[in-house]
């Protein structure tokens, strides 16, 4: 009853911008339409005027002092999610970032997604070498300590496995979460040496067109990268969010190809061979190739497409009760920055522009949000991103029409989250 009265008072102040309760992003900025911000916090937090506050116990006892290497609060249990280990695939597998519990745009190092083909090697940097050979004037070997003396650059970039979101193509997993369906994307500040610096030191010969990059893991995982990318923005990444790259991310050094399918950013990098033709490694022929309905397969599909995803509310969450919510999520593109994100609450019939909450960096995660007033009727929440080159994120239907379902790589499709009258959020196909 009380709720109804409040709703009635607020209703006229809220500016509806699309079907099924989407409100103007201006409410999030606190611009005009005074009172909407208040309505939001009351509806979401359910503040009770009769609350009596007391000083909590932790304000009465000194806590432990400084620590050598910090950890998350014991009250925060964020974890990567991975499948069970398979003894017939030693060290192989993936783990996914808990996207629905993260905010902002930077993935903490502990929670950056992983994909390994033969486990994480325990590399002593003193024994690690980086070799540059092949079509160069002078083959060279670099030591870790020496590499630390080079001029470095720092850039914030997303990294996404090209198998991310692949499950949506075959339509499974109604129980999926943002993490289980899309958690093979993360974003960090990477610091390292432009690959061009090292290639120039070795002296690339005129006939060179590719580099073959090889890791020091047990699979000696290799990928070929066109020389023009390597000379453009590829990096030998030595630091991740300010600390040495984590073992799961390639310690002591990895290749990083901004905007490109994650597997090309070879971890534990130990060799760059400059070549005329691609090496045709297993992971660029048997895997990471995209078979089309006509049975021809696309090879070297490098840039990751423009994409976005609502992370809250998302699969397996519950929208507690009627009210105004901050719907928010992440958007990214391998071809540039995010120019625009639109949100729909009615399965794509009508759309409204979301607010961009973060910096809009090139090839980095971008956070968006929009207020949404849920009245308890069924809803389908979607987001659709547009990047700086004008590419617009496609529907699932459009992806399947164009590329079929044999292929499971490079699926950028719009994610639909259904909200039931009881508030349960699930992965749905519309």
């Amino acid at each position: 009853m009380k709720q109804g009265k409040l709703e009635k008072k607020r209703q006229p102040r809220l500016e509806k911008v699309a079907g099924n309760g989407l409100l103007s992003r201006r409410h999030l900025l606190g611009l005009g339409l005074g009172g909407a911000g208040l309505a939001m916090s009351q509806a979401v937090m359910g503040q009770d005027a009769g609350l009596k506050l007391e000083i909590p116990g932790w304000s009465k006892t000194p806590g432990p002092g400084p620590s050598a290497y910090g950890s998350a609060s014991s009250h925060v249990g964020l974890e990567r999610q991975s499948g069970f280990g398979n003894p017939l695939y030693p060290g192989g597998g993936a783990s996914r970032s808990p996207l629905q519990h993260l905010q902002g745009t930077i993935t903490p190092n502990n929670l950056h997604f992983e994909r390994h083909h033969a486990g994480v090697p325990d590399i002593d940097p003193a024994g690690h070498k980086l070799v540059i050979n092949g079509l160069v004037r002078q083959p060279l070997v670099f030591d870790y300590e020496d590499l630390l003396k080079y001029t470095m650059v720092s850039r914030i970039y997303f990294l996404e496995c090209s198998g991310n979101s692949g499950a949506l193509l075959y339509g499974g997993n109604p129980d999926g979460t943002a993490q289980s369906l899309h958690g093979l994307v993360s974003c960090a500040e990477w610091t390292g040496i432009p690959i061009s610096t090292l290639l120039e030191e070795a002296g690339v010969l005129p006939e060179a067109r590719w580099i073959a990059a090889v890791g020091a893991d047990a699979a000696s995982m290799g990928r070929s990268v066109p020389l023009n990318k390597a000379m453009d923005d590829s990096m030998l990444a030595l630091f991740q969010n300010g600390e040495p790259v984590r073992p799961e991310q390639g310690y002591p050094m990895r290749l990083f190809n901004p905007g490109w399918e994650g597997n090309t950013s070879v971890k534990w990098l130990t060799q760059i061979k400059v070549t005329r033709e691609p090496a045709q490694f297993r992971d660029e022929t048997s895997k990471y190739t995209d078979t089309m309905p006509d049975r021809k397969s696309l090879q070297f599909t490098f840039p990751m497409d423009v994409k976005s995803l609502i992370t809250s509310p998302s699969g397996q969450m519950t929208v507690a009760r009627n009210g105004v919510y901050r719907v928010n999520g992440i958007a990214w593109s391998g071809s540039g920055s995010i120019r625009r994100v639109e949100v729909s609450a009615d399965g794509g019939s009508t759309w409204a522009d979301a607010l961009i909450d973060s910096q809009q960096l090139d090839k980095a995660l971008t956070r968006f949000s929009i207020p949404w007033q849920w009245d308890g009727s069924p809803a389908v929440l979607q987001s659709r991103a547009t990047d700086s080159t004008g590419n617009v994120q496609p529907t699932r239907e459009a992806v399947i029409a164009a590329k079929g379902t044999i292929n499971r790589y490079h699926n950028p499709c719009i994610q639909s989250w259904g909200v039931s009258p009881s508030g349960e959020v699930t992965n749905v196909y519309v």
Partner: protein
């Protein structure tokens, strides 16, 4: 007082200048150590479709059978039929009605990749435990199981990369899209 303050600021300035000097010197740091391709022979495992990078040695499927059965079959099955989707290495048909099974025989465009991958990554429980001779032999056996070479065909640096793969024309290079 006046002099010492002046001295301090002169020192501070000198410190600042030398810091700038060091960082511009770093732009031209060149700390790679020269190495010869010959010295990299045991390190560089890349075996290319052109035949570049293949080691000396040779092998036949007949010689590779015993190695496959003892070192590979536990995970890939005695005939390469696998024990999970990831370990099926024989069979499949790219033109099948259903979603095609993609294996070495049905999908891989280059025979060189069979040798390159086995030498660098297999057996998965002990990668790089085969010598070059054994890698030729077992690669020959995998190609033989797929019906692509004869049992006694000798595969070496010259002949192995030339084995014709059924799906060799099945790929479209997209590398110009960046």
């Amino acid at each position: 007082m006046y002099t010492s303050r002046k001295l301090i600021s002169a020192l501070a300035l000198a410190g600042f200048c030398s810091a700038v000097f060091v960082s511009s010197a770093q732009e031209s740091v060149r700390l790679g150590t020269p190495v010869s391709e010959a010295d990299l022979a045991g390190f560089d495992l890349i075996a290319e479709p052109s035949g570049a990078g293949f080691p000396s040695g040779s092998g036949t499927a007949a010689q590779g059978k015993a190695i496959f059965e003892s070192r590979c079959a536990a995970c890939h099955g005695l005939n390469g039929e696998g024990n999970s989707a990831a370990t099926i290495i024989v069979g499949g048909d790219m033109q099948s009605e259903e979603s095609p099974l993609r294996t070495v025989g049905s999908y891989w465009p280059y025979a060189s990749t069979v040798f390159d991958f086995i030498r660098r990554a297999m057996p998965a429980d002990a990668p790089k435990s085969l010598n070059d001779e054994e890698a030729y032999q077992v690669a020959a056996y995998v190609l033989y199981l797929n019906g692509l070479v004869g049992e006694n065909e000798v595969l070496n640096a010259e002949t192995l990369p030339q084995v014709r793969m059924p799906n060799a024309d099945g790929f479209i290079d997209q590398s110009d899209i960046q």
